[in-house]
Symmetry: C2
Subunit: 194 residues, 2 copies
């Protein structure tokens, strides 16, 4: 359970954690398993946990006035899930997060997270680096969403996260791209012919 997590952390820290530090870190996290379709966070709740996906796949989405789901994030192994805004502000979330496949995660509360940071200074560096990567990815997606047509957004996804195309059905991918499943189907058929 924790090996993947340790490797992940090591990747993000110049000086990797000592055994003792990693032990401290481990006790702050609790294993949690979700069945497909089970919620990790529901709209209106405060996001009390951040989760690290050990295996499985999840989606984060909002629901509009008409009841349509808009997927804002997809996550698989080695990704974090949680609503930053709600987590930081302690405010009710506008998002739902649920499991798309049966999923095993490691979760931590904000209190435990902050305390652990005190005890393991190197972690700051790790977190910062993760946040940086995340910020860059989000900015890229925003830029694409504003400036590129559906077809190019799909092409970009294919290049950036090809795993997603294996793991999620097309109607999920479509929503993530901000288009309908029908449009995605047509885009793909057109692409194949080229």
């Amino acid at each position: 359970m924790f090996e993947l997590f340790r490797n992940y952390i090591a990747k993000y820290s110049r000086a990797s954690l000592t055994d003792e530090e990693f032990k401290k870190l481990s006790v702050a996290f609790q294993p949690k398993s979700l069945k497909k379709r089970q919620f990790f966070l529901q709209e209106g709740e405060v996001c009390k946990y951040m989760g690290f996906i050990v295996n499985g796949a999840m989606r984060q989405y909002s629901v509009d006035d008409k009841g349509v789901e808009h997927i804002v994030n997809l996550s698989i192994e080695n990704w974090w899930v949680g609503d930053r805004e709600s987590w930081v502000m302690l405010a009710p979330s506008i998002y739902n997060i649920d499991a798309w496949e049966d999923t095993d995660m490691l979760v931590i509360t904000r209190a435990d997270f902050l305390e652990t940071l005190q005890h393991i200074p190197v972690l700051h560096e790790v977190i910062k680096s993760i946040d940086e990567k995340h910020a860059i990815a989000t900015q890229r997606r925003l830029t694409a969403s504003i400036s590129l047509p559906a077809e190019q957004r799909y092409a970009e996804l294919e290049k950036t996260y090809p795993e997603f195309l294996q793991r999620f059905p097309q109607h999920v991918i479509a929503s993530y791209l901000g288009i309908t499943k029908e449009t995605l189907s047509r885009v793909r058929n057109k692409a194949v012919k080229k």
Copy 2:
């Protein structure tokens, strides 16, 4: 020049900086003034500076295959400008950043920034808090851009950053929202009639 900056920093730190700390911080920054339309960063360059706007207004945009500008960020007093991705990765930027009004800024290089962080530990907290706010805002914009039609995105902007509507002409706002100036014009006329 530095008063506004000091107030800004104070807002983001629980324990505000000592005079000595702030002096250290100040020497790391250099004043820089840009005339309207002058570039702070051009596509293809590495982003060597982060800038804090003391007064004025700037825009960050990419240019697509057809030569159309897509504005991804607008910034005014008390905002930071720079391309995170290029700044962190030391890679050529895909964005242009220029002044929309005559602008006075304080700028810092990455080397000076990292060194200053060493000398003033409280700064980490400040930076983290700024980054968090920024990440949340970007996520919100992405969500809106995927799930809301033009009219609601404009309404949201009106609520979130009403200053922008005063400072930037409509065609700039339109591009920031990912629509054309004509569409924005029609949306606004329709809104007035309600």
